[in-house]
Symmetry: C2
Subunit: 488 residues, 2 copies
C-alpha cells in the first residue's frame, strides 16, 4: 500500500495545523485555486457545484416565502455611501474604486458593491409611493467585494458570491417578523442541508451591521473550535429609509418612512461545511450537498471484470433512476487508490462490487462518515442506498452537535478562568472552543475580553443552554448571556 502512505502525507493532519489541513484538503480535492488577483480565488467546478446546491436550497425557500430575485448595478456612486453615516464608516476602508472607464477619468468614482443597501434604497425610494406598494420582497444573487487584508479561501476573499435580501415594510412589526423569518430559513438550510448545527441569536452592538438597528446571526463551530458566522439578518429600522427618502402614503393618509431589512449568506458556507465535517482523510460532504453521493468501484481481478460489469451497469442505472447522484470509477488505478481518492473528495458512500459479490447477489456499501461497511442484496440496493444516505445525513449532523457541545464551555465565570482555560487547551493542543459568558452590556467589558484573549462575542443566543448571572469582565450583574469564541 505504497500509494496509501504517499496519499496521507499530502494532507497535513488537522491536529498538527488546522489551517494547513484546510488548504491542503480543498486544493487536493480541486475545489478552488489561487489566482494572480489579490485575495480572489477560482471556484473550480467541484467547489462551485457546492455553491449551486446551497443556492438551490436557499432560493427555493426564498420563493416559497414570497420573495423574488432581481439584479441591481454592481457599481455604486461614491455619493450614495454618504447617505447613511454608519454605513460608510463601516465599509469605506474595504472598498475598491473604479476611477476611469472608456479611456476617460470618471466625474464621480464608483465603488464595487460591498453590499447593496444604498443603490437598492435609492431605487426603492422611486418604486414605493403607497401602502399598496408594500411589502417589497426582493433578493439578489451577486458578486461582492471587500478588500480584506487577510484572506482565507471561501471564508474571506476580496471577491465573493452571496445572496442579499432587501425588503421594505409598512410597519416595524412586519419588518421584524421578516428579519426573524429569514434567520430561521438560514438555520433550516444550514442545519438540515449542510448538517451544521448553529446558534441563533442577536449580535452585540459592537458587532452589528453598519447601519442596522439590530443584527441577528447564526453561528457555527468549526473543528478547530473557532466560529463562523453562517448567515445574518438585519432589522434596519428607518435608517436607510431616511437616508434615501423611502416614504409611502399610508392608509391613514400620512406619509411615513418604510422599515427595511436585509439578510445575507455567502460562499463562506462552503468553507464552513468543509471545516465542520472534514477529517484527516480529506473532505466529507453531507449527502444532501454532496456533488457525488455514491461512487461505484468494481473490485477483484481484471479477468473477472466482465462478469462484474453485468451486475454493475444495471445497478448504476437503478441508482440513477432512484435519483441518486452516482458516479462509476472505471479507471485503471487500483481499488485502494480509488478508495482513498473518493474518501478524500468527501463522497458519502462507496459501493464496492467484486466477482464474489455478484455470485452472492450482494454489494458492499462503505460509509465515509463512520468507515463502517455493510453488505446489502443487489436487488434492493437502490433503496438501501437511499436510506443510508439519509442516515448519514442525520449522523453527520449529530456528530457535529456532539463535537460542538463537547467544546462549549458553560462554567467559565471570570476572565482569569478564561485565561486559564485557554492556556490549558493550548498546552494540551486542544481547541479552546466556545465560552458561554455573562455580560453586563458595557462595550468596554466586551472589548476587554477580545483584547486579552482574542475571543469575540459571537451572539446572544435566543435559547442559551444556561443563563449566566455575572459579567465575565467586571463581575456586575449580567444583562445578557453571550457566546464568545475566536472566529474566522
Amino acid at each position: 500500500m505504497k500509494q496509501d502512505k504517499a496519499f496521507v502525507k499530502e494532507i497535513t493532519p488537522q491536529s498538527e495545523d488546522f489551517s494547513r489541513w484546510y488548504i491542503d484538503a480543498i486544493k487536493k480535492a480541486e475545489l478552488m485555486d489561487y489566482t494572480p488577483v489579490r485575495g480572489c480565488i477560482v471556484f473550480k467546478p467541484d467547489g462551485f457545484e457546492l455553491w449551486e446546491r446551497i443556492q438551490a436550497a436557499m432560493d427555493k425557500r426564498f420563493k416559497e416565502t414570497g420573495h423574488r430575485n432581481a439584479y441591481f448595478p454592481m457599481l455604486i456612486p461614491e455619493s450614495f455611501f454618504q447617505k447613511e453615516k454608519e454605513h460608510i464608516e463601516g465599509f469605506n476602508p474595504e472598498l475598491p474604486w473604479v476611477t476611469e472607464a472608456g479611456g476617460e477619468p470618471l466625474e464621480e468614482k464608483l465603488a464595487l458593491r460591498p453590499t447593496s443597501e444604498t443603490i437598492i434604497g435609492h431605487m426603492y425610494s422611486q418604486w414605493i409611493q403607497s401602502y399598496r406598494d408594500l411589502p417589497v420582497l426582493i433578493n439578489q444573487w451577486a458578486n461582492v467585494f471587500r478588500w480584506e487584508k487577510r484572506t482565507m479561501p471561501f471564508l474571506r476573499t476580496s471577491e465573493f458570491l452571496w445572496q442579499e435580501g432587501h425588503t421594505a415594510h409598512a410597519t416595524e412589526e412586519e419588518a421584524r417578523e421578516e428579519t426573524m423569518q429569514m434567520l430561521e430559513i438560514y438555520r433550516e438550510v444550514v442545519e438540515q442541508e449542510l448538517a451544521i448545527p448553529v446558534w441563533k441569536g442577536q449580535k452585540t452592538p459592537s458587532e452589528r451591521f453598519a447601519g442596522a438597528i439590530d443584527t441577528y446571526s447564526i453561528e457555527a463551530m468549526m473543528k478547530d473550535g473557532k466560529a463562523v458566522q453562517a448567515g445574518t439578518s438585519h432589522y434596519l429600522g428607518e435608517n436607510f429609509a431616511r437616508g434615501f427618502e423611502i416614504k409611502f402614503l399610508d392608509r391613514d393618509n400620512q406619509f411615513k418612512y418604510v422599515h427595511t431589512t436585509s439578510w445575507g449568506s455567502s460562499t463562506r458556507l462552503i468553507g464552513a461545511m468543509i471545516m465542520v465535517h472534514g477529517d484527516d482523510r480529506g473532505l466529507a460532504f453531507p449527502p444532501r450537498m454532496a456533488p457525488t453521493q455514491v461512487v461505484m468501484i468494481p473490485v477483484g481481478p481484471m479477468k473477472l471484470r466482465e462478469q462484474v460489469m453485468t451486475a454493475f451497469d444495471p445497478l448504476f442505472d437503478a441508482l440513477k433512476a432512484a435519483g441518486v447522484r452516482v458516479r462509476a470509477d472505471l479507471r485503471e488505478e487500483t481499488p485502494g487508490w480509488k478508495f482513498n481518492e473518493w474518501e478524500m473528495r468527501g463522497v458519502p458512500i462507496r459501493l464496492e462490487i467484486g466477482p464474489r459479490d455478484v455470485e452472492n447477489g450482494q454489494v458492499i456499501l462503505a460509509r465515509r462518515d463512520t468507515g463502517e461497511k455493510v453488505t446489502v442484496p443487489i436487488a434492493g440496493a437502490a433503496e438501501a442506498v437511499t436510506k443510508l444516505l439519509e442516515e448519514i445525513q442525520q449522523n453527520m449532523y449529530d456528530k457535529a452537535v456532539a463535537f460542538r457541545d463537547e467544546h462549549s464551555h458553560l462554567e467559565i465565570d471570570t476572565l482569569e478562568q478564561l485565561h486559564a482555560h485557554i492556556a490549558a487547551c493550548e498546552s494540551d493542543k486542544k481547541p479552546s472552543g466556545w465560552v458561554l459568558a455573562g455580560w453586563c452590556g458595557e462595550d468596554e467589558c466586551e472589548a476587554k475580553v477580545k483584547e486579552e484573549t482574542k475571543f469575540t462575542s459571537r451572539n446572544i443566543p435566543f435559547d442559551p443552554p444556561v443563563e449566566k448571572k455575572t459579567c465575565i469582565t467586571c463581575g456586575a450583574e449580567a444583562k445578557h448571556t453571550v457566546w464568545f469564541a475566536r472566529a474566522y
Copy 2:
C-alpha cells in the same frame, strides 16, 4: 371604457417609433428601470425571471453535454490583456478600471472583465499538463462590463449578465466540433424556447471576436427589421494558448498548444424576445418563457362572485397541479382593465369565468397571440390549457418566421438597388429588413455597404435561402452569400 383609451395611449405604437414603443412597453410592464449609474439598469423581478428561465434552459443543455460551471475573478490585471494583441485592441476602449482599493492606489490597475478569455487562459495554463487533462469544459455565469457610448435596456448596457463557456481541446477538429455544438445549443434554445427563428452562420473577418480564428453566430430579426446577434461561438485556435502558454504533453510525447473555444449568450436575449413578439398592446411571451402562463379572471356581477369562486378555486388548483404557471387576479379593478393589464404584460392565456360559465360547466380561454377566444369544458380545462400553450408556442414561432421571411430581401444585387430599397421602405414607413447579398470577400466592399447604408454584415448563413452570384459592391464574383442588416 375610459381606462382602455388611457391605457393604449401610454405605449407608443410600434409603427410610430419602435424604440419608444420598446422603452414604453418594458417600463410599463416593470421589467427594468434606469439607474443613476451610467448605462446600467435594474433587472426588476419580472425582467429577471425571464433571465432565470433562459438560464435554466441553457444550463440544462450545457450540463447534458458535459460542461460544468465555475467562477473566476471579475478583476483582470492590465498585463493580462497584453498577451493577446487583437484582444486588447478590441476591448481596451470599453474597459472600466479599478485603480484604488482599501484606501490605497493599486500597483497594477485591474479591469472589470468584458469577457474572461485572459484570466481563464492563465488558469488553464496551470491546470493542463497532459492529454489526460483534456478536454476542459467549463462555463461561467457572470456579470460583465463594456462601457458603451450608446446604451439600450437589455440589448446594450454597461453592465450585463451572461454566460461564457471556455473549453480547451487536444485537437483542432475536436475544438471545432465543440464550437458548432454550442452554436447549435443556442439555436435550439432560442428557436424552441424563446420562439425566435435564427440564421446560423459565420461572421465575416471584420465582425470576428477580438482574438478568434472563426466566429459563428445566430442572428434574429426584430419587428423593426433590425438584427440582434443572439449568441456567438468562437474557435480561438492556438491564439490564447500561445498568449498564455497553455501546453500539454500529448500521447506522442510532444508538447503541444491546446485549441480553445469560447461561446456566449446574454441578457440581450430578453430584449430580443420582446422585440420579436411584442405588439401595440405591449409584451407577448412565448409560453415556455412566460413567468405567468395563464391568468385567471372572474367576471360578471360582484353579487354572483361567490358562486363563481366555487368553480374558480378548484380550477386554479387543477392548473397548478398540471404544472401550469397560473395566477389569479382577484383585485377590485374592472375585468376590462385587467384584460388590458395582462395583455400588456404578455401572459399567453387569459382564462375568464363568469356565473353563466359556471352554470354551463365551461370557461373561456383568450389567446394573447391571436386574440381568439375558445370555450372549453371546466372538466378538461387543465388539459386544454396545456395543449393550447404548446399551440401558442408553435404559432408564435411560425408568426416570427413569416415576419422574418416577409422582410428578407433576396433580389437585391447592387448597392444602387439597396439604396432604392431603403428609400422606398422609408417613404412607406416600412422596415427595410434584411438583404441577402453576394460578397467578393474584400473588406473594402463590406465596409462600403456599411458606410453608405448602415447595413452591416450579420453572418454568412450555413444554409442560405439562395446563393448569390455577384458582389453587391463591386460586381465581381461572389465568394460568400451574406445577410446584411441594420443591427442593435
